[in-house]
Symmetry: C2
Subunit: 155 residues, 2 copies
């Protein structure tokens, strides 16, 4: 069921990039803000309302995410409107999508009896999209077919 991933007990998990990633998006509110960003939300009030978090928290989280380089804040202005700000995902932020998608997929499978409210589809062919583990040779990988190895530290 689990697959014995461990290559040999005692290697220390410092420099672990999961921990580093969690330093950037540790909180529930950060994940929800990102979810909204992926869903297409760009404006302050919408982030707060749709993620159902208070405005102070939205402000703090947006500031942090901008600082970390996952979002960028830009001024924009529509014809007869005043200047406003909007938040958009950077490449770094957009690249987190698979993690969100994986959480969603897991939630769809295990926490919702209807398979989840939202479906991802490939825009070109319309087929449903899933998160997969796959090796460079193209095999789809189950968690029990994985080996862990320390990466040789080039440099």
């Amino acid at each position: 069921m689990t697959g014995a991933l461990d290559p040999r007990g005692a290697w220390a998990a410092d420099r672990c990039t999961i921990a580093k990633a969690l330093d950037v998006v540790s909180t529930r509110s950060a994940f929800l803000i990102l979810r909204e960003a992926f869903y297409g939300t760009t404006r302050f009030d919408d982030f707060a309302a749709r993620a159902r978090i208070s405005e102070p928290v939205a402000a703090a989280r947006l500031r942090e995410l901008v600082q970390e380089g996952l979002l960028e804040r830009e001024d924009y202005r529509e014809p007869r409107q005043r200047t406003r700000q909007r938040y958009r995902l950077t490449a770094k932020g957009a690249d987190l999508f698979p993690a969100l998608a994986a959480l969603m997929q897991w939630g769809d499978r295990w926490l919702d009896n209807r398979g989840g409210p939202v479906e991802l589809r490939h825009r070109d062919c319309g087929e449903p999209v899933a998160v997969e583990l796959r090796c460079a040779a193209g095999h789809v990988i189950g968690t029990n077919e994985l080996d862990l190895a320390r990466r040789p530290r080039r440099r």
Copy 2:
């Protein structure tokens, strides 16, 4: 860069399975415990030490994860040893691995200048493993090729 995922502004995000998933593993410590479980850790002390969290927190988190059905606690005993407990991933817990892997992959890419300390490989063929979004027709999907749709609520 972001891809306008939104199908039409105003649908409410309640019943969102990302939020539900976050209710189960919202905290940093929960993620780290799961990381250790995937790395093969099974014993209480090792969880606390390797995830670098205090024992009270490890105890609380392990209890919760067992309660949520991601881990199961079982007694075991080696030949001339006393009975001990170990924690193992259930199918539900193991199925969260892609989410952890996605976080790791993102951290490797954006937060570590050496590509991360740990590498995933396919046990059978030795090739490196990556997390991918792929549609049922087999296309690899970038975040800008996605459509969101509300899932028709069968039932």
